[in-house]
């Protein structure tokens, strides 16, 4: 799409002042909800995402049960006030698709074979959207799963790489996404660099795709550190407070 917006100026700075391979400011907090078994709140740029995990618990309806392993049921939902124009509430084609790919990405790391016939339910609520919510949702969901004490091989960090005005840009914001040429969300298992989620819309050359993957994987490792930090912080603050008391 052609537009006269300058996505990257001659100093290499983007609309929001970032460089091409810089993430938006990110904040993760684990264990924010008391009624869910595990939860996480995540902000990246203007995105605000809440993830809650229940289970493993008995799977209903029964025909969905798998006698050899647990199933992961994710629900991705955008609040009606999460976008500029009110979004009609309820599941739509897009959110059903995102729910499915996030479930599959999480199933790849959860030790599902430990809980035959059970269901692990993940609810992702987008409170405020500004491009890259599926990645933000998946990143938050994996922290929430760990917080819920569910056995998993690793956490799943996720980020999108895109292309706007011919530049490859990490972690697109709304303007770059809307007026750009391509968007490539990906999620990896950091320990093995396995890819568990990869989608693309728009066009990229083969070389650009390779570079974009490299940028994305590198950024995922950065996000991974923040995820681990959020989980450790949840319990170390408790210990610190107690030390002060004593």
């Amino acid at each position: 799409m052609d537009s006269d917006i300058v996505m990257v100026d001659d100093k290499g700075k983007r609309l929001d002042g970032r460089t091409a391979d810089e993430l938006r400011p990110m904040k993760i907090e684990a264990g924010v909800l008391s009624n869910a078994d595990g939860s996480a709140y995540l902000e990246i740029g203007k995105n605000k995402v809440l993830a809650a995990v229940y289970g493993p618990r008995e799977c209903h309806p029964r025909h969905l049960q798998n006698p050899t392993r647990a199933i992961v049921q994710c629900k991705y939902n955008m609040q009606s006030y999460s976008v500029g124009d009110r979004k009609r509430p309820g599941p739509d084609r897009r959110s059903v698709e995102i729910s499915k790919i996030i479930s599959e990405a999480l199933e790849a790391v959860i030790q599902v074979e430990l809980f035959p016939r059970a269901s692990i339910d993940v609810y992702i609520e987008i409170l405020q959207a500004n491009a890259g919510t599926r990645c933000a949702g998946l990143t938050a969901a994996s922290v929430a799963l760990a917080d819920a004490g569910i056995p998993m091989r690793d956490l799943v960090p996720s980020v999108a790489v895109g292309k706007a005005n011919g530049h490859l840009l990490l972690d697109l914001n709304k303007e770059e996404d809307n007026y750009g040429e391509a968007d490539l969300p990906l999620a990896i298992v950091p320990k093995t660099n396995e890819v568990v989620l990869l989608q693309m819309d728009g066009h990229m050359t083969r070389e650009e795709f390779g570079t974009a993957m490299e940028m994305g994987v590198k950024a995922c490792h950065e996000i991974y550190e923040m995820q681990k930090d959020a989980l450790r912080r949840r319990y170390s603050t408790e210990a610190d407070e107690q030390e002060v008391e004593e």
């Binding site: 078994d37 493993p56 004490g149 091989r153 690793d154 319990y235 408790e238």
Partner: protein, 232 residues
């Protein structure tokens, strides 16, 4: 309490050991190295690395004593909610009473609370509970509170020291199920104090000197007349 090594919080995917220790609970092996699969505290015991979970669902072990609530009645069994990922049926053959077919509701009703033992948990995670064991019974009256199952050992304390202290100071009858469900019966005021004390243990399970502080709390919170009784 006792001199413990510095507790190390690990998250899923953290490397625990690559020098030949054996993988224990809450761990997995990849390329000969042991990694954590849980958010928890690293613990090394006799050549095994374990991760003690900080949260999570109770997974029944055979012979665990649990406190459960009846949630459904069938003609020859009851369904007990024991906070596990799976339903736990209690068959009429596993209760200490003689029950005619279809007469189950006369003995235990929906909402009743029982002490039960995990009869078995097979490899497909099918659970069966029994009340045919000493001490297993229907718990009448009282209050039920829930804590995380991983904190149960802390609530009980070394050789039962913590729970004994709470029982004697509040003059309550208390049963702690391995599933983190706790039944308390006594004077309402005292029950509230005991419940608060147990919640305190749940929240601060990681800290040292917990027994002392729980005692301090209870001394402050209990009505003065109780204090006199205890001192006598």
């Amino acid at each position: 309490m006792n001199a413990r090594p510095k507790r190390e919080v690990v998250v899923p995917g953290d490397l625990l050991d690559d020098k030949g220790l054996r993988p224990g609970s809450g761990t997995y092996v990849l390329d000969g190295k042991v990694y954590s699969s849980l958010l928890g505290v690293k613990n090394i015991r006799s050549n095994y690395v374990n991760v003690i979970p900080l949260s999570g669902r109770y997974l029944p072990q055979t012979a665990d004593t649990v406190v459960g609530k009846i949630i459904d009645i069938g003609p020859s069994n009851w369904l007990v909610d024991i906070n596990a990922p799976y339903p736990a049926p209690l068959h009429v053959n596993e209760v200490p009473w003689r029950v005619e077919f279809g007469d189950t509701a006369r003995f235990l009703r929906v909402g009743d609370v029982i002490m039960a033992k995990i009869l078995m948990m097979d490899e497909t995670n099918k659970i069966q509970v029994t009340m045919n064991d000493s001490g297993m019974r229907k718990l009448q009256g009282g209050h039920v509170i829930e804590i995380s199952y991983s904190k149960v050992p802390r609530v009980i304390g070394k050789g039962g020291s913590m729970i004994q202290m709470i029982k004697s100071m509040t003059d309550c009858r208390i049963f702690v199920g391995q599933n983190g469900v706790i039944w308390i019966e006594g004077e309402l005021e005292n029950v509230l104090v005991a419940a608060k004390a147990i919640q305190m243990i749940d929240e601060e399970a990681q800290s040292s000197n917990l027994t002392e502080r729980v005692k301090e709390y209870m001394e402050k919170a209990l009505p003065a007349s109780e204090q006199a009784d205890i001192q006598e």
